[in-house]
């Protein structure tokens, strides 16, 4: 199976094939023998040659991070044959959804439909765990639609507003 992997902004081409209990791995053209044991959900014990690593997968919503020892890496994995992921990868333009980064309560809306906003301008204030957090616009544009009301309870990932 072929993957495009991005680790902290750096791209890798990875080809993984399993044979006789081992993984034959080609990373950016380099051949590696990998012995992998999933010791429990989201925790891999790896041997690459005789070097041993414990790798943990942190997943919260759509964010993936990998911990190698105590170093944390942001990770993205794409299957280059998947059309969908290719389309998504190039998605920089058009309307942007502003989502709640955590579950909480909308205590204040700072903009209205149609308002012009700068990148980084506050759009809404969400309170969770006794902290009020200003949710900011990811881009300059105008508010296409506000999808929540003041006082509403939201979950992580809920769309608060759309900026176009």
């Amino acid at each position: 199976m072929l993957y495009d992997v991005t680790i902290d902004g750096k791209n890798y081409r990875l080809d993984l094939n399993r044979a006789e209990g081992r993984w034959h791995c080609r990373l950016n053209g380099q051949e590696l023998e990998v012995d992998a044991v999933l010791t429990r959900k989201d925790v891999l014990s790896l041997r690459i040659g005789n070097l041993a690593y414990e790798v943990k997968l942190e997943r919260v919503g759509n964010d993936l991070h990998l911990w190698v020892g105590s170093t944390r890496f942001a990770a993205e994995v794409r299957d280059p044959r998947s059309l969908r992921s290719r389309i998504r990868a190039g998605d920089d333009h058009g309307p942007k959804k502003i989502v709640a980064p955590m579950p909480g309560k909308v205590v204040r809306l700072l903009v209205r439909d149609g308002d012009k906003v700068e990148q980084g301008a506050g759009v809404a204030v969400v309170e969770a765990m006794k902290m009020q957090n200003e949710i900011k616009s990811p881009k300059k544009g105008s508010v296409q639609k506000i999808l929540v009301t003041e006082g509403a309870a939201v979950n992580a990932g809920d769309v608060l507003a759309i900026i176009e």
């Binding site: 999933l38 989201d42 794409r78 299957d79 579950p103 309560k105 957090n133």
Partner: protein, 505 residues
């Protein structure tokens, strides 16, 4: 000694107190709100009573509900933990009136510390050094402006009932005063049900050093050494250590003696903490007294060998302090990390949610006081403190290396935590050189992280990312309703232990 203690708190501190009860052969009664039925303190308790909705004001802050549980359970004492009702004099008084021992100071001592005016005069006579400012709540914006003009900007606004940085604002210029005062007041009202705010001259880049005191009900008061609490973010402590790297035995003795005088001026009993600001010339100023057990009490326990919760309970039961000042010795060094449910990539926003995976560190010199477990959902309604990880060593360097090692073993999945922050702090050259002040962390976070790029580890991460995708694909394949394969995270967690091992082997 008490037969039964009611713990009027939740989270890691409720578990901490519960453990002390069990160690002392005391029955532990807990209370819980609707969202805390599955919380760790309820699991570990001997008796547990529901006290209503998630909102703290209707449960953990509700005096009559808690006293009702004390009555129904037959508890002879109440331990308030920290936060919630721990520094509420009305609650301490209500306990006394109900014939239940409050494990902490008397309402009168709390009031003396809370209201400040009279206690402050007594303390000034006793030679306690103060930062210039008002000793009582501000009546109006006009008064705030006058005082600020007199003592000079920058000034600090603080909630009279406060603690933990809530209701606190730094004001640099006269223009900011009005909005800051309003913000501090409303935050104080929300957090403590009391909007009283006072004003002080702000000392720039101070250290925050606090002295632990312990007083029995027979007139004996001792100090147990200081804690350095300068590592704060938004006035919220993040990491504490004991002893403070800047305090030598002579300074410790002077600070300790001042702290004892502060406690005695208020006729203080039980455990308390006297907070000082230390300026760059190592002058120290009395800041406030926290009339409760502190979050960071474990670092003091590790370097003194004392158990503060046991001692709190014994003092409340009327026992004399079992040692004198000359018997208190400081040995080694301890550092505590506060593990919060916060997202390090998103400005440390709270990150409540379900803990899907928990790997906990252990080994030499490591103590972990935790209120979480795997499978538990961290509620959105309370403080984001999940656990405390404390490293102890013969000296500061060993404490740092043990903590660094333990942090690499610590992993919380499903929610985000600030664990990666501590690794960064522990590596920081200024931290290692103990050049600390209360602005240290905010400055460090403003610098972009100089990640020493570990190319080898990044390659390992890349390989692991692919392997995790393979596992997801093979285990999710049977029930795959997605059209194409995108990212790993699109695969829901249909993990079956047998099939996933098969998939790898």
């Amino acid at each position: 000694m008490f037969k039964k203690i009611l713990i009027a708190n939740r989270g890691e501190i409720a578990v901490r107190v519960l453990r002390a009860c069990h160690e002392m052969g005391i029955v532990a009664v807990v209370v819980y709100s609707d969202v805390d039925r599955a919380a760790l303190h309820v699991r570990k308790a001997d008796e547990a009573y529901p006290i209503g909705p998630a909102a703290a004001s209707e449960s953990y802050l509700n005096i009559s509900k808690i006293l009702d549980v004390a009555r129904r359970s037959g508890a002879d004492a109440i331990h308030p933990g920290y936060g919630f009702l721990s520094e509420n004099a009305k609650f301490a008084q209500a306990c006394a009136d109900a014939g239940v021992k409050f494990i902490g100071p008397t309402a009168a001592a709390m009031n003396a510390m809370g209201s400040k005016t009279r206690a402050r005069q007594a303390m000034e006579k006793a030679g306690v050094p103060f930062v210039p400012g008002t000793s009582r709540g501000l009546e109006s914006f006009v008064e705030a402006r006058q005082v600020a003009e007199r003592i000079g900007y920058p000034v600090m606004l603080k909630a009279a009932a406060g603690g933990g940085g809530k209701g606190m604002r730094l004001v640099q210029t006269p223009e900011e005063l009005k909005s800051s005062l309003e913000a501090a007041r409303s935050e104080a009202e929300r957090s403590f049900g009391d909007s009283e705010v006072y004003i002080e001259k702000a000392i720039i880049n101070p250290r925050h050093v606090e002295m632990q005191v312990l007083a029995d009900e027979h007139g004996n008061t001792v100090y147990l050494g200081e804690r350095e609490c300068s590592l704060q973010r938004r006035h919220q402590k993040v990491m504490e250590e004991a002893p403070s790297p800047v305090v030598d035995p002579e300074m410790r003795r002077r600070m300790g003696e001042v702290a004892v005088r502060v406690a005695q001026a208020a006729e203080y009993t039980n455990a308390g903490t006297v907070e000082f600001l230390v300026d760059q010339q190592k002058n120290f100023y009395f800041l406030e007294m926290n009339t409760r057990l502190q979050v960071e009490h474990p670092v003091t326990e590790l370097i003194t060998g004392l158990d503060l919760v046991h001692l709190q309970i014994r003092i409340a039961a009327g026992e004399k302090l079992p040692f004198a000042q000359k018997d208190v010795h400081i040995r080694g060094h301890a550092i505590e990390c506060r593990i919060y449910a916060e997202d390090p990539d998103n400005n440390y926003f709270p990150s409540p949610g379900k803990i899907t995976l928990l790997l906990a560190p252990s080994g030499p010199g490591i103590r972990r006081d935790s209120g979480m477990y795997e499978g538990w959902t961290v509620p959105i309604d309370y403080d984001p403190l999940l656990a405390k990880l404390i490293g102890y060593g013969t000296d500061r360097d060993q404490a740092i290396s043990r903590l660094t090692r333990a942090l690499s073993e610590y992993f919380v999945g499903g929610i985000k935590t600030n664990i990666s922050l501590f690794r960064r702090i522990l590596r920081d050259p200024d931290f290692r050189a103990a050049k600390l002040d209360t602005g240290f962390l905010d400055r460090m976070l403003k610098r972009s992280e100089d990640k020493a790029v570990d190319a080898k580890a990044a390659e390992v991460a890349a390989i692991a990312a692919g392997l995790f995708a393979e596992i997801s694909a093979s285990t999710a394949g049977a029930s795959n309703d997605e059209g194409g394969r995108g990212t790993i995270s699109e695969f829901s967690s249909h993990w079956k232990s047998a099939s996933r091992r098969e998939a790898l082997r």
